[in-house]
Symmetry: C2
Subunit: 150 residues, 2 copies
């Protein structure tokens, strides 16, 4: 697994995301590693990320799909000179296939399945204890200039 | 707006949800009020719930769609003797129509649009500064007995 997470290559001033920004002290610090074909990662929710007792909160799982999917879109769209484009989430879909146990480390895998103009569609799977629990899809779009406050 | 949030009528042992459980000290405490036709609510994200600077994190917005949608499904399915069924999220869809500014209070509105057997489909809208920013859909399913650890 490559050492530097995709999210650590985002510009400093765009690295405050609650889900994955390295500069957000109170954030989740979701990390995606790009292996050349897929975005992969691991994440262990904290005890407070509970839904019903024993299971992981759906909004936490949606956050994993979101940040891991967007980072995978960026890594897969990196230019030859190493420029990493910054994407935002246009839409997010999450199917909770079966309950996700709270406690075990979660495994994340994501891959680009489609390009729609400048938009990138990414499928994300979250597994626990060797079984896929969540299947998600992110439609990532290049960051609009109107969202850049520089 | 009725005084008691739907989430405060969940059973004590099922009230630890990170998104909306009143017994989760570190949770978000998302609250839904049922007006007889719609689930309505207000929520102000904290400064750390940032995405790109100035805007609300998508995973936070997905969490609002999730907990507000599920609570609306429950309230709309309340039996005549006042028994509130407990639902879980089967799937979640979120369209980020336009960026959601971080700072202003968000307004949540949800309504049941369809029943598929025992499943309930709920549409959720999130507005800020009088404009709809997010449109979401939750498919809520009755809590499986396998998720009850009593």
């Amino acid at each position: 697994m490559p050492h530097t997470p995709v999210q650590h290559r985002y510009a400093e001033d765009l690295s405050y995301c609650y889900g994955c920004g390295k500069n957000n002290d109170q954030g989740l610090h979701i990390k995606t590693h790009w292996n050349g074909e897929e975005g992969v990662g691991k994440f262990t929710p904290r005890p407070e990320h509970i839904a019903l007792p024993g299971f992981v909160y759906g909004g936490m799982l949606a956050s994993l799909v979101d940040c891991h999917g967007v980072a995978t879109a960026a890594a897969a769209s990196c230019t030859e000179d190493g420029l990493l484009p910054r994407f935002v989430t246009a839409s997010l879909h999450v199917d909770f296939l079966r309950p996700t146990p709270l406690g075990p480390e979660l495994e994340l895998v994501a891959r680009v399945t489609e390009r729609r103009g400048r938009k990138v569609v990414v499928e994300v799977e979250i597994s626990a204890l060797g079984e896929v629990r969540v299947r998600g899809q992110v439609v990532a779009a290049p960051m609009p200039q109107t969202m850049n406050r520089d």
